[in-house]
């Protein structure tokens, strides 16, 4: 009996310890976001208090209004949106035919393409970006959103190619053979048989492309020098200048709004993506 009780006590203690540890993790993971939200809802008076409050005493949406009122931010958000949508669409348009070939045939090209997926993850961008800057300058694409779209689409392409290839492999080949027998050429088969079947995979790829571009900073920092063309992350960083506490509220509100697309994407894709991430890292 005594032994049984001792085991039970030990097990209960272990459980408690586990919950305590889990709680620590939850706090560590969540509190920066909670603080961002809290800051975004505070009045300037409250922000200036010597002892900051956790929960705003008088929550206000004034900071959001102020952030929206800034011409800079609204314009930057619109530019970010345009760049992200265009580069997502462009990436998928370029990747889909190639992914189809990589999914259906095996050749040297396949191995090279897959190696590039990995290599492109590992290179320090500084090595690429100076030369890229010079190349884009030749084409007159510095300070241009078109240039940024091309760069984002290109650098997002390897991973999207990989995603789509995996998805396309899951589509039964019989359906294409049927189309071929009915006299459809390869393009025709791709457009009217494969693409519709791949729609969920394409949607995931589009979202991935959108978010990569929406979140991207370094390329934008180097390519977009002119304030009139800068995207949201650049304008937000510029927002942090030495103006002091007064602008923290609007900054927090704007940051929160800039994070929304990413968080929505994450909520949607969470389950599917977990699988993709793991495959990527483990089978890499």
């Amino acid at each position: 009996m005594a032994a049984v009780t001792a085991t039970r006590v030990r097990r209960a203690a272990a459980r408690t310890g586990q919950y305590a540890a889990l709680l620590c993790y939850l706090v560590f993971l969540a509190f920066p976001l909670v603080w961002l939200l809290s800051t975004a809802l505070k009045t300037p008076q409250e922000m200036a208090l010597l002892d900051p409050t956790w929960i705003p005493l008088e929550p206000t949406l004034a900071n959001f209004a102020a952030a929206f009122g800034e011409q800079d931010l609204v314009g930057a958000a619109r530019r970010s949106l345009t760049v992200a949508v265009c580069s997502a669409v462009l990436t998928v348009l370029l990747a889909l035919p190639a992914a189809y070939v990589l999914a259906r045939y095996r050749s040297v090209v396949n191995r090279i393409a897959m190696s590039w997926v990995l290599v492109s993850q590992v290179f320090p961008f500084i090595l690429v970006i100076i030369a890229l800057f010079m190349i884009l300058r030749q084409f007159g694409l510095v300070n241009s959103l078109v240039g940024l779209v091309l760069v984002h689409a290109t650098w997002c392409l390897p991973f999207v190619l990989w995603m789509l290839r995996g998805y396309l492999r899951g589509i039964p080949r019989v359906l294409e053979e049927a189309a071929a027998v009915d006299g459809a050429g390869r393009w025709r088969t791709l457009v009217s048989v494969v693409a519709p079947l791949a729609a969920p995979g394409v949607a995931a790829a589009l979202m991935f492309g959108f978010i990569s571009s929406w979140n991207e900073f370094l390329f934008a920092l180097i390519l977009l020098k002119d304030p009139g063309v800068q995207t949201l992350p650049l304008v937000l960083v510029a927002f942090t200048g030495p103006e002091g506490v007064a602008r923290l509220g609007p900054l927090a509100a704007a940051s929160l709004m800039a994070a929304v697309p990413s968080l929505v994407f994450f909520a949607f894709i969470q389950r599917r993506f977990r699988g993709g991430l793991v495959d990527g890292a483990v089978k890499g």
Binding site: A21, T39, I135, L157, R186
Partner: protein, 312 residues
């Protein structure tokens, strides 16, 4: 479909038609690869090759007309550049610390999430979201946390009675690097956790049970049974994390811009400054090449050692 119904397979258990046998690509297949190939060659492979070439030139912003080939001169300067070595050392400290902490913390969380705990769904959801946040927003968010007057960290530590005077975390010579490391761990932990969690789900339970019967405690079972089975996963995720951390830019740029006094100037930040603030394109490219070489050397050495151990 028409094809299969028109010629039904022989009734007698013929092996399934080897549909999966790879066909040889024909010319039209290559045509489909072309749209992807052109931008990749133009905007990533060409700049990469050109970037390596630039490392051996004295290219400077705005006067590329009289660029000339200088062989190893840039690398010679690099060896003698105190600032480069300092940023390189900081980069190594940063990458190693962040990678180890990401692994340790990620492992802890993965072990917890592998248990049948009540708040597991919440933790699983939260565990991923730092990864989904834009790096710039993560940087800005943590700047609010670390803010000397309006930040939550100082407030919490004051309330707990641990500090009597507010600390300016990101501008303090001693605290800046640790503060930045914490943010690095925070953003990078999700990926590590998820990968380790997947690894844990493949760990055989029988061995653990056998060890338990033999009287091994939890720690012993973890180090002797679980950890060895996670070797492949561990090598993959720590090497990738190390390389990603070595190449980090956006996060630290937003948090400190490399300050105070260069205490958090990671190699990429130094290279960025040399290239785009002072215009030394060739020199910054040489820095990129040097970092690639070191990263690949460390990675190659590490991978080979792990492989040998796995074979032994």
């Amino acid at each position: 479909m028409t094809l299969t119904s028109a010629s039904p397979p022989p009734a007698e258990a013929a092996p399934p038609r080897p549909r999966a046998r790879p066909r040889r690509p024909d010319r039209s297949a290559y045509a489909l690869l072309l749209p992807a190939l052109v931008p990749v060659v133009l905007f990533s492979i060409a700049p990469l090759v050109y970037g390596m070439f630039l490392a051996f030139t004295d290219a400077r912003a705005g006067r590329d007309v009289d660029t000339s080939f200088v062989f190893l001169e840039n690398f010679g300067h690099l060896l003698a550049d105190v600032q480069f070595w300092s940023s390189f050392r900081i980069g190594l400290v940063w990458a190693v610390t962040v990678t180890l902490l990401q692994y340790a913390a990620g492992m802890g969380l993965a072990l917890l999430l592998n248990q049948n705990l009540r708040l597991r769904w919440l933790a699983r959801t939260l565990a991923l979201f730092p990864w989904a946040m834009p790096p710039v927003i993560v940087g800005l968010m943590w700047r609010l946390v670390y803010h000397p007057d309006a930040g939550v960290l100082n407030a919490a530590l004051t309330d707990l009675g641990l500090i009597s005077e507010n600390i300016d975390w990101l501008n303090d010579f001693g605290w800046a690097l640790p503060a930045v490391v914490v943010v690095g761990v925070w953003t990078g932990m999700p990926q590590t956790t998820i990968v380790l969690l997947a690894g844990l789900q493949n760990v055989s339970r029988d061995l653990g049970e056998a060890a338990r019967v033999d009287g091994a405690g939890p720690w012993r079972r973890f180090t002797a049974v679980t950890l060895p089975q996670l070797r492949t996963v561990t090598v993959a995720i720590t090497s990738l994390n190390f390389v990603w951390n070595m190449n980090e830019f956006a996060l630290v740029y937003v948090l400190t811009q490399g300050g105070p006094g260069g205490m958090t100037r990671l190699p990429m930040l130094y290279a960025y400054e040399e290239a785009f603030r002072y215009g030394f394109f060739g020199y910054a490219s040489a820095m990129g090449v040097a970092i690639v070489i070191v990263v690949l050397a460390v990675l190659g050495f590490y991978l080979r050692r792990q492989l040998k151990e796995a074979e032994a």
